[in-house]
Symmetry: C2
DNA sequence: AAAAATTACTAAAACGTTGTAGTAAATAAA
DNA sequence: TTTATTTACTACAACGTTTTAGTAATTTTT
């Protein structure tokens, strides 16, 4: 069913029907009513390819993330989808699996008008960002969330990473930790850097200086990351507190502690950036810095749609910060023997 | 950059360039080489709308699921995406949030050629399925996974739900449970029915007959579901075993048990269909029937692509069953006082 | 009552591909 | 040597919309 057939049924020209469907003032109310009725009757739907080709608009956005199986990115997608559904947009999902090469390939696929805008949280391994700059150069609206690229001039939605890093570290200090390890993704990522800076400054405040042997940069490969963390916790001078910068690393830490028979929180206290639904049900329950993931998704999507709709306006190019919150649970509690 | 401009740069006709890019035998090797080089130089990309319009192909599939924040659907998407990326397809995501009305609206959006195929796990509240039949009628390839519609003649990828239901129930029986509750989604869903039949037959085997007060049909609304489960566990004749048919309900069960100060597994044993990464780290660790979610995604996507590529062939219209497995953990263990 | 403006349409040209039909020139077959 | 075939292209008509530029007919203004 297309416009041509519909027009024939109605004894009207194709353009009249097209205009009637889009409620043009050039068409009389009576005709409009007739067209709408017939269109409904015959279940006419606009062909998105013809329409997209003509209007140079896709009504589609792309979301590029490292992974879906994740209690942060899941709710983010949820937030994005909720706004997209409101606005009548479609959502394409692409996963980089933390591989820079895949990210580049995906971005290159999107240069030809397939989407009206792109939202991305970059892969942990991305260091070169020319692919992202090229996309911006083409005039395709781009919004970063969480894992941003500082130097690219595009809207960014993030949490207060520096501050949260300090809060988490202080929480461990308050509960008696002296040797606090920072376990994290590669330090190319701005979230890693900021969270680490918060951690370092919190330590500096109590006159502890940076100890590189307590700072671990993982890379997203589960097995390798587990080895790194196992080595850290096997050391004689092992840390008494672990601050994990992402969810996955906290889970690995729990697994390793079980393996090595280390008690949380007596032997090691653990705090983590995490949106795990089950954080409160873990053994022991996990103290988290929780990001408002759904809201980040909604906010980032809203900004993207503003950008798409009012192209050329630059007043939106700022950073939006949504605060995380500390949820204290057992994994960082003082145990009876402690001062 | 389009074919016209590229052709002008090369002093060739548009069709020659088009054919060269698609490696047609009508074009000489020398010309092909020149075209490819120029296309790369100028970063030419085929316009997906023009191409889609002309070829009546979108190179896109739709995935319709109830939610993303879920350790089952997450890995499924992962599996789907991995196959789609291999095949050069794009993946549109739509969430129904368990609302039938949304599912209908989404399906209606897909009737106009936007996608070459659809994969769906239906909402828990879907009872009328004419929207899905209409989609099939239009000739758009459709594959069901996990939450299927039995009566629609389309490929289905599922797990051995009946058998797993029996295995889970037997496991509880073996560990001493006598009053086993079945906590589940609405019984419209075939997965609910089959899992329940497995449960009922396992009970019948030991001569326990169906007790409707021990069978709970939740509906996906977290608050209401929690109330239902709370009421179940507050009763004097509360069950000593709970078999939850989906992950979310097991988490709620854990929360309610904590709230009511019921010890798992001493007071109630809990088993659940679940893909929680953290099942082993929960307090207590949760015994699960785990579905091979990633493989389900890959398998369902593979079948969909076969269907897309060899349209009209009917040899693929079968059901594919991939087995789940029981992972025994503490939540169902016999406690010291038990026989 | 003539000129101007408005109403309610139609015709036709894009948008960027792809594939069919056509065509010179070169090569092979009769 | 003439005819048939192959090679390497070009021209052009789709695909289904949207939009600009018309145009009769009607209504309003002067």
């Amino acid at each position: 069913m297309n416009l041509k057939q519909l027009a024939k049924e109605l004894n009207l020209s194709i353009s009249a029907v097209s205009k009637a469907l889009r409620d043009s003032h050039e068409i009389s109310p009576a005709t409009k009513k007739a067209v709408l009725a017939k269109a409904k009757e015959l279940n006419y739907q606009v062909n998105p390819f013809a329409s997209g080709l003509r209007k140079q608009k896709s009504k589609t956005i792309a979301v590029i993330i490292p992974e879906v199986v994740n209690d942060f990115f899941g709710p983010v997608i949820n937030g994005i989808e909720s706004i997209a559904q409101e606005k009548g947009y479609h959502v394409l999902i692409y996963l980089t699996h933390e591989v820079e090469q895949k990210e580049v390939a995906i971005i290159n696929l999107l240069q030809n008008g397939r989407v009206d805008g792109v939202m991305i949280s970059i892969s942990a391994q991305t260091s070169d960002t020319t692919h992202l700059e090229a996309l911006k150069e083409k005039g395709i609206p781009l919004v970063f969330f969480d894992r941003i690229v500082e130097r690219i001039n595009a809207p960014k939605v993030i949490t207060d990473d520096y501050n949260s890093g300090a809060v988490a570290t202080n929480h461990l200090i308050e509960n008696g930790c002296q040797r606090i390890a920072f376990v994290s993704l590669p330090n190319k990522l701005t979230i890693t850097q900021k969270r680490m800076n918060g951690y370092l400054d919190a330590l500096k405040n109590i006159h502890i200086k940076k100890d590189n042997s307590l700072i671990l940069f993982c890379n997203g490969d589960e097995h390798k990351d587990k080895d790194l963390i196992r080595n850290l916790l096997k050391r004689k001078d092992r840390p008494d507190g672990i601050f994990a910068s992402v969810e996955k690393l906290a889970i690995i830490t729990y697994e390793v502690c079980e393996e090595l028979n280390l008690n949380i929180p007596a032997d090691v206290k653990v705090i983590c950036f995490s949106n795990l639904k089950t954080a409160g049900l873990l053994n022991p329950s996990l103290t988290t810095i929780t990001q408002p993931a759904f809201e980040i998704g909604r906010e980032a999507a809203s900004i993207l749609f503003k950008l798409i709709e009012k192209k050329g306006h630059h007043f939106l190019l700022e950073k939006t910060t949504i605060n995380s919150k500390l949820i204290k649970r057992i994994s960082t509690e003082k145990t009876s023997g402690e001062k």
